[in-house]
Amino acid sequence: MWFYIDPTSHVPVYKQICEKIKGMVISGKLEIGDFVPSVRKLSKDLGVNVNTVARAYRELVNEGVLQPIKGEGYVVKGIGEDFVDKKLRDLKEVLFELKAMRVNETEILEIVREVFKDDIRG
């Protein structure tokens, strides 16, 4: 099993698939030139509808992460141009969630500082 998706999450399934695959590309589990599973195989493995996987792959093609090769399948092309913007939007969403959970701004800025700590010094 490549990864699990949560059908009851508020994140649409096709989006979860996109995120997971992009995550694997970033972490190096998937390298540029690797093939991702066929639509049919992934849908069977994840227990989701073929259309959902197809839609996820379409999105990834649009974002420049995957490239379809006729007769062969989908191959990893790169990280994708809009990926950074997308990640920032996701971060904003998470921040709203934390805000709703009454998490303090200072707490969050602490984390930001921690993450960028090395960069500021170096």
Partner: protein, 260 residues
């Protein structure tokens, strides 16, 4: 397109019924009709399979169907094995599949229908319906009355159907089940469609907004506590900071239908 339903309407003398139901179903898709009891889900299915006649609207079914009714009644004098035999004389049944489902759900072929519990009778009916060779499987509350193990077993069997290129249309009032099984959904309230589409799209379409009690906002009320209200609103109509909304929250709000 396996099934096209356009503006299907049927009103009973009591005043209840369904109005202008419209949806499409492709091969390889699972579509659920979600709604509270009495909302009209069964009426829609009965009009599609020919048990009832719609007042107006079009139903285009391109292929054979296999139907599981809401009232799962079979011939009480028959043995389970006889029911398979009888059904086989009417439609094309995959014997092995039927017997496997019965075996997995622990129903003996020699048992009489009259001696089956409600859940077992439902399981038998499901075995007969799912083993029938058809293009579209139309199931009315397929998991109602089943124990949790049988329920997840049946949902797994339902999820396998798209891989054979067939489609499923089923009704339910359990949102979580629908979320785990279906691609698309039609949400019915008082006989009218309040939302329809792929579950993924609906998750993206709606968001949750919290407001103070006094504040005026346009949306579907989800919950009201002592100091705040939570509304479900379409994302592009949302006023300001919103949060993502769970599918159950969205469905509950739409089904409750309390608009502000």
């Amino acid at each position: 397109m396996i099934l096209e339903v356009e503006k299907l309407s049927k009103i009973y003398k009591s005043g209840k019924g369904v109005k202008e139901i419209t949806f499409k179903l492709k091969e390889g898709e699972i579509l659920s009709i979600l709604g509270p009891n009495g909302a009209g889900k069964t009426t829609i299915l009965k009009c599609i399979v020919g048990l009832r006649k719609a007042d107006s609207g079009i139903v285009n079914l391109d292929g054979d169907f296999s139907y599981l009714p809401e009232e799962k009644r079979l011939y009480r004098w028959a043995k389970v094995s006889q029911m398979i035999e009888i059904t086989k004389s009417y439609v094309d049944i995959d014997d092995e599949k039927a017997l496997k489902i019965l075996n997995d759900l622990r129903i003996s072929p020699s048992e009489k229908v009259a001696n089956l519990s409600h859940g077992q009778a439902t399981s038998l009916y499901l075995a007969l319906t799912l083993s029938q060779k058809a293009d579209l499987y139309i199931l009315d509350e397929p998991t109602w009355g089943l124990d949790p193990l049988s329920r997840s077993y049946i949902l797994e069997r339902v999820k396998e159907i798209p891989f054979e290129g067939k489609a499923v249309l089923y009704t339910s009032h359990i949102t979580e089940e629908v979320e785990k099984t279906s691609d698309g959904v039609i949400i019915i309230r008082d006989g009218k469609m309040v939302e329809s589409g792929y579950i993924d799209d609906i998750k993206e379409k709606y968001v949750a907004v919290r407001t103070k009690k006094s504040e005026k906002i346009e949306g579907y009320l989800y919950k009201e506590t002592s100091d705040e209200k939570i509304y479900i609103i379409e994302k592009d109509k949302a006023p300001r900071d919103f949060e993502p909304a769970n599918f159950s929250m969205i469905v509950e709000s739409l089904m409750r239908g309390v608009r502000s």
